[in-house]
């Protein structure tokens, strides 16, 4: 049985000869010739649709999404908090929007002033001594960080150091980054309370240790309590300390990675500083470094000369930072995202910044407490939650045959985006829940009520859960078929 699509493909609105002609430039009378061998013979099979078709189609499609602007979205590790519209408005000012990335310094002072101040604020927040803004997402920042660690060891002639220690609780990007940098990811376990297994760590370090990548609070939703010991062990072994700052939201104004002896950190500005996630991006993964790694920062970074009204800003390049790991982006990173983060930080200000960590933690611990009262099982019940926490539904899966996936899908029917499921891989049948500080108690209470109701359904009517969702535009999708019978593009006849 094939049912009609919820919304047809944009191609389905097309007819040969139709088009949004108001958008087309006038036809040229003279166009320089393209040599015949290089010319396109057939027009590409793009949609031929009217402007109204386009507006209606994509407006309708958008309505099929859950989003922060419409739903509570407690996707653990992703910090889905309110994206203030002012950040967008500021980034869209025509002068910024129309500015070419290679524009003259003369026409760049306003933009560069924002970038410089953003670098300074990030230094303050992390306790680091240098910041580069160009990495375009968290993983990209990780790459920059590990590449700097590598460059550091190489510059010292310490060529054997190619192992990056990664706790098993790490985000998948950490080991993937190690590999991309040509290092080997060496995993060490965590103990039953979620902290790194120090015995294993001591066993793992050695002359091949380039460094350790530590997420804190870890992806298990707890603050790593042995940071001083870990720092000592790794540093003593000659390795450097990498702080995966994706969870910076939890510790803003409470602890600073620089003060904790970390040599490098990447931040997910799209999380902590609330730039929009855009259905998959863009992000911004600025990196901060301590004194050891200062010379290796990726290019370009912004420098200031003069003070106050006499301040002048410019990009530093290769000549200025000859030991840099080089360029990681075509221009200078996701400038528009950086502007949004800058505006957000200026609005928060000093006091607002520490409140972020406090209220994110309050919401998380409250939600955990209420869900425990409702009968759910915390993965680390003996620990305080950080800005997020993990439930494990292993018992439910064993007793009722209802999985974390079923619960996640059923939550959609109650009007809540699901938490992160099956991540971290360490905890079976897990839900990683991050409410963020911008959600109200009422919303959290409503979420608890829905979860409690789902627990009741698991006992009384598990098939409803297994068949969920029931109220979305589509019911549960066949992922296996998607991977087996690959249908990755529509192929209309070319015009």
């Amino acid at each position: 049985m094939t049912l009609p699509m919820v919304e047809p493909l944009i191609y389905d609105y097309g007819r040969a000869g139709r088009g949004a002609r108001g958008q087309w430039p006038a036809a040229e009378s003279v166009v320089p010739a393209v040599p015949a061998a290089l010319r396109r013979a057939r027009r590409a099979a793009l949609p031929e649709v009217s402007e109204l078709d386009v507006v209606r189609h994509y407006t309708r499609l958008s309505q099929l999404n859950f989003s922060i602007d419409t739903h509570f979205y407690p996707l653990g590790s992703c910090t889905m908090k309110y994206n203030p519209r002012a950040c967008n408005a500021a980034a869209l000012l025509p002068e910024f929007l129309g500015r070419h990335p290679l524009a003259s310094t003369r026409h760049s002072q306003g933009f560069l002033a924002c970038m410089f101040e953003l670098q300074e604020m990030l230094k303050e927040v992390t306790g680091m001594q240098g910041v580069a803004l160009t990495p375009m997402a968290g993983a990209h920042g990780e790459f920059a960080g590990v590449a700097m660690i590598r460059a550091y060891h190489r510059a010292r002639g310490d060529l054997a150091r190619n192992e990056i220690i990664v706790p098993t609780a790490a985000h998948g990007t950490n080991p993937a980054t190690a590999t991309m940098c040509g290092c080997v990811a060496r995993e060490v376990g965590v103990g039953p309370d979620g902290d790194v297994d120090l015995v294993a760590l001591r066993a793992a370090v050695g002359p091949k240790t380039a460094g350790i990548m530590l997420t804190n609070p870890s992806t298990l939703g707890v603050f790593e309590r042995h940071i001083p010991e870990i720092a000592r062990i790794v540093h003593d072994a000659g390795g450097l300390l990498y702080y995966d700052g994706a969870n910076l939201n939890a510790i803003l104004g409470k602890v600073r990675p620089g003060d904790m002896e970390f040599d490098v950190i990447h931040m997910n500005l799209h999380k902590t500083f609330s730039t929009p996630h855009g259905g998959g991006g863009p992000g911004a993964g600025a990196v901060g470094v301590g004194p050891r790694l200062l010379p290796y920062l990726p290019l370009p970074v912004v420098a200031r000369s003069g003070e106050g009204d006499a301040a002048r800003y410019r990009w530093l390049g290769e000549q200025d930072l000859p030991q840099s790991i080089g360029r990681l982006t075509g221009f200078n990173g996701n400038a528009g995202v950086l502007l949004r983060a800058y505006v957000y930080m200026r609005m928060l200000g000093r006091d607002g910044m520490s409140r972020v960590g406090e209220y994110a933690t309050l919401n998380s611990n409250y939600l955990l407490a209420r869900l425990q009262q409702a009968g759910f099982i915390a993965a680390y019940p003996q620990r305080r939650a950080s800005h997020e926490f993990i439930l494990t539904l292993k018992a439910l899966a064993q007793q009722q045959g209802v999985t974390a996936m079923d619960v996640a899908k059923r939550l959609l029917d109650f009007g809540f985006h699901a938490p992160t499921t099956y991540f971290p891989l360490l905890v079976p049948e897990c839900l990683l829940i991050e409410p963020t500080e911008t959600e109200s108690k009422e919303t959290l209470d409503a979420f608890v009520a829905a979860m409690a109701e789902i627990l009741r359904e698991a006992a009384s009517d598990p098939d409803t859960l297994r068949g969920a969702p029931h109220t979305m535009p589509v019911r549960r999708l066949d992922d296996v078929r998607a991977a087996r019978e690959l249908d990755l593009a529509h192929r209309p006849a070319a015009a």
Binding site: V34, T59, T70, P84, E95, A103, R350
Partner: protein, 457 residues
Amino acid sequence: MPFIPHTEADVAEMLAAIGAPNIEALFAEIPRELRTRALTGIPEGLNEQQVMQLMYARARMDGRPLNFIGAGAYEHHIPAAVWAIVSRGEFYSAYTPYQAEASQGTLQTIYEYQSMITALTGAEVANASVYDGATAVSEACLMAVRANRKSTAARVLLPRAVHPHYRAVTQASTGGQGLKLEELPYVRERGQTAVDALAAYADQDITALVIQQPNFFGVLEDVDALSDWAHARGALVIAVVNPTSLAVLKAPGLWGQRGADIVVGDGQPLGCPLSSGGPYFGFMATRMEYVRQMPGRIVGRTVDLDGRPGFTLTLQAREQHIRRGKATSNICTNQGLLMIAGTIYLSLMGAAGLERVAHACMARTAELVAALARLPGVRTAFSSARFHEAVLLLDRPAAPVLEALAARGIEGGFDLSVNYPELGPALLVCATEARSAADIAAYAAAMAEVLKAVRVA
């Protein structure tokens, strides 16, 4: 407290439910010696009105110069409908569509995007974006090493006529994995990659050859010859293309006998504002046989429990959240929102509209070059056919000329002296459909003035 909805009563109730005396107690697990002082280096918070006033002032400092720089980022007309839709909260404030049933809007848009990118490039499959054009090239080089099972050298030929930033990024991004990048020279008179130079590599193990079309100078390369040469030697072909140009140029899928193997580029010209350098999006497409080597997210069409078509992320076993250290890349967050903008832009333009854009770009650039090369002290560098950029040689240093133009409100082009000192004083200029005849005349007049004022070296 901006953005925090808690009332004092809320906080009290919540702490009671937790069983904590105050918020501070929630941080008790943090070793005391690690606790930080206040963030005195952060200024006090501004309200929205204040921050907007600050940003208006900052924006005013930058002004709105008339722009003739291209060099990888192009000023095009962007239909108002594009960002009106992209800015809708449901697109803007969603994340990666992990919960497919609650994300069909994003997922279907990605599927349509993949369809359009494959149609434009002539490739079979596309991913849902990488960061930008530069990282797309470096990812393509790494992918080629995985995909080219016949080659063991991890050696990629990267012409000097490829965007210097793309080369720099590729260098920085692939060095760790031991890729060897080798530069191919260009022919001085034509600005084209020297096919002769390939002779030196005739019997060697080459993993891939990168071909940028049009190349960084705006010059059209002989893509068929280059592709066939590479394929004949078992090397893969990585095409780096400007998507606008594909409205008039042969699709990489048809280059030479076999077509390019991996096609990448920056999607910025498709509805993304210049925006000081980003966010843009990198696109990436390839043959079906290499799909499992491609990094990034991919969306597939499938059906739901009732048999209704729907969309979902697929082939996730390539990705870091499943494969971890063995993933095709570490990429996670990509450039989703910009990819949506590109999809809407392409829907509005269609192939016919995009062709008009390409034609207008070519015509305006030809007019610009004619107007400037008419001036004493300015001449064109290369004789070859071009797309919408051109190299102009000056009889005096470029930097003061550009600075004097900037003082007159004109961004006159990209100074090639740093990256291509062999050319002598040289500018890379660009005019798209966004530049009018009056704009071009204004540039020519300003240049004439400046050439009178700025000394010959």
